[in-house]
């Protein structure tokens, strides 16, 4: 592992590792103690969620020259001016769909006569972070409902309003935005996050659900999950992998975000709010529990890293080394004095789906402890390239191996 990995977690601790390498030496204070407040160091005073600027960055101001890739790979601009670009999805006819979280629109990017055109295909939506394409239909998960537009690629210039298929989801803003994916069973999968940093969630919250494409047959798929902004399906094992963001305000270094896998649908409980990172109990909610009660993470992804989008790469364009590896975007921390993440890592798996290694793939989104961009989601393309969304700049980049793409 090269020096570029300096900011990535060291070798991933094995599942069920004993005490984490880093941690608080003093006993945690009870919640609500005034002593839990701001420490007196200048660095620690500057912790705040980083809001993406509302207006996209101009193409010539994007940080492409700051981004470093693994040797042999190249990154270039794919599209600028896509406000708050979040989830990426690909239509059968080659349209790239882009969601947003803090704005109300979904965009489509089409290539026509060698030029890319960006179109608004839906607006007036409330935090439409989750989108999925399946058999020509665009599914949209807003904060509290899921809707669809059939045959979307034939209607990009005059798309009909989305049709509601599942309503009445909780309206909590905190962790209310969704990630949406379609499973091998042709059902929609989404989460209802915990409506807090740390709290005892209601029966409805902190779970992954699945529901038929018609919005019928809602059922719980997994529990004990704080918040997810990335899920994908193992190409051969057909199991759901997802990134989970851990709680804040406990420590600079703990707990770490997780990469999880559902192996017991309907039964897996990933521990929130009782157990963090699979190996220690919450200082408030963990009493009376043991982490052995819960499903362990596959690998830890770093403190406050904000692990978001992940995609299995099943193409040939990046070489056999990356075939069936997971690419995962770490949006980057805010609740940490020295920012962590701000990169795309490659997670290579063993034949049984456990993690063999994790290594940096794109770095450089953090410069001098400030963000110059923040990666959100990834999209492997049919030509072997891979797109990366950046919600901070409202831009999409394209990664190729040596600039080569397969002929269409």
């Amino acid at each position: 592992m090269g020096s570029a990995l300096a900011q990535a977690p060291a070798a991933p601790p094995p599942t069920g590792a004993s005490a984490p390498a880093t941690g608080a030496s003093a006993a945690p204070l009870p919640p609500g103690s005034p002593l839990l407040g701001r420490p007196d160091t200048e660095a620690a005073k500057k912790l705040a969620p980083i809001a993406p600027p509302p207006l996209p960055t101009a193409a010539d101001k994007l940080p492409l020259d700051k981004l470093k890739l693994k040797s042999g790979f190249k990154i270039e601009l794919y599209a600028a001016g896509v406000p708050n670009a979040r989830t990426l999805r690909l239509g059968d006819k080659g349209t790239v769909f882009v969601s947003s979280r803090v704005q109300d629109k979904i965009h489509a990017i089409v290539e026509k006569d060698g030029k890319r055109e960006i179109k608004v295909i839906a607006s007036g939506l409330h935090r439409p972070n989750g989108i999925a394409l399946h058999k020509g239909t665009l599914y949209i998960a807003e904060l509290y409902q899921i809707s669809k537009i059939d045959n979307i690629e034939a209607n990009l210039d005059n798309p009909p309003k989305p049709t509601l298929i599942l309503g009445d989801l909780p309206k909590d803003e905190a962790h209310g935005w969704k990630y949406l994916t379609v499973g091998p069973d042709e059902k929609l999968y989404f989460q209802i996050g915990a409506p807090c940093n740390i709290c005892m969630p209601s029966e409805r919250h902190a779970k992954i659900y699945r529901v038929g494409l018609d919005g019928k047959g809602l059922e719980v798929y997994a529990t004990g999950i704080r918040q997810i902004v990335g899920m994908d399906w193992h190409p051969t094992l057909k199991q759901l992998y997802f990134s989970e963001n851990a709680r804040d305000w406990m420590s600079e270094d703990m707990p770490e975000d997780k990469l999880n896998r559902v192996t017991n649908p309907g039964k897996d409980n990933f521990g929130f709010p009782y157990c963090h990172q699979g190996n220690f109990t919450d200082p408030e909610f963990g009493w009376g529990h043991s982490c052995s009660e819960f499903t362990k993470p596959l690998v830890l992804l770093g403190p406050h890293a904000a692990a978001l989008g992940l995609k299995f790469y099943t193409g040939n364009g990046f070489g056999s080394e990356y075939r069936n590896a997971i690419f995962l975007a770490r949006h980057g921390s805010w609740n940490r004095s020295v920012k962590f993440g701000g990169d795309v890592v490659a997670v290579k798996l063993n034949g049984n789906g456990t993690v063999r290694s994790i290594e940096p793939f794109i770095t450089g989104f953090i410069q001098n402890n400030n963000y110059v961009g923040r990666p959100v989601d990834l999209l492997p393309m049919k030509d072997g390239s891979m797109l990366v969304s950046d919600d901070y700049n409202g831009a999409i980049y394209r990664v190729t191996r040596n600039g080569h793409v397969a002929q269409k």
Binding site: L36, G37, L47, P54, L55, E173
Partner: protein, 211 residues
């Protein structure tokens, strides 16, 4: 001065408006000025275009109108986000949505920069030391000062709350807690989750009295 039909309507409204609240009146004046500027043949200066804003929010960064925020020394990135949300109707406040309709991206930036240069509002007069102390402890406990700065002056996308109108702070904190105000991102909904209404009153009391 406002001119034309809109201005005449506004002046008539003012004469008739003895029973109206000051906030209602300021909205009428602002609408009149907006109308006058919109109908002006030549492009107006930034100063002229700011006039309707200041009619309600206060000439010197200090609002005298109930539940209308003071804007003095507010951070430019926060102001840009809010004006953007008003333009896109992602934050629904009718008069504000109307006021910035048709603004270009450059307009949004120019207004944010100009408003941020207004002087900081004067804090509310010092009051009950017991409630102030409760508020001070809560600011510490809920880590308001991590993001809003130790003196609550704000930075970047995190707004200044020092010296803000107490009634506006109470209204805003309640709206974040109830999810009525979605915010740009959901940071404040998350923060407000464990905070009680009594604590909201103490927090607003304290913040309104910080210089």
């Amino acid at each position: 001065m406002p001119g034309g039909a809109a201005g005449r309507r506004a002046r008539r409204s003012l004469r008739l408006g003895h029973g109206q609240s000051r906030a209602r009146m300021c909205a009428v004046i602002a609408a009149a000025i907006l109308g006058a500027i919109a109908t002006a043949a030549a492009a107006s200066s930034l100063e002229e275009r700011l006039a309707p804003c200041l009619a309600c929010h206060g000439e010197n960064g200090q609002s005298g109108n109930p539940e209308i925020p003071s804007l003095g020394a507010q951070t430019a990135p926060y102001l840009l986000i809010q004006i953007f949300l008003f333009r896109e109707r992602l934050r629904a406040v009718e008069i504000m949505n109307d006021a910035v309709r048709g603004f270009s991206d450059d307009d949004l930036n120019a207004f944010a920069e100009a408003i941020a240069k207004l002087p900081a509002p004067r804090p509310a007069p010092q009051g009950d030391p017991v409630q102030l102390e409760r508020g001070r402890v809560l600011v510490h406990r809920y880590r308001c000062s991590f993001c809003h700065n130790g003196d609550l002056s704000g930075r970047d996308n995190v707004p200044r709350i020092a010296g803000q109108r107490e009634d506006f702070l109470v209204k805003t904190l309640r709206a974040y807690k109830s999810n009525e105000r979605a915010g740009y991102d959901a940071s404040m909904a998350d923060v407000m989750q464990p905070i009680s209404d009594a604590e909201i009153l103490d927090l607003a009391y304290f913040a309104a009295r910080q210089p």
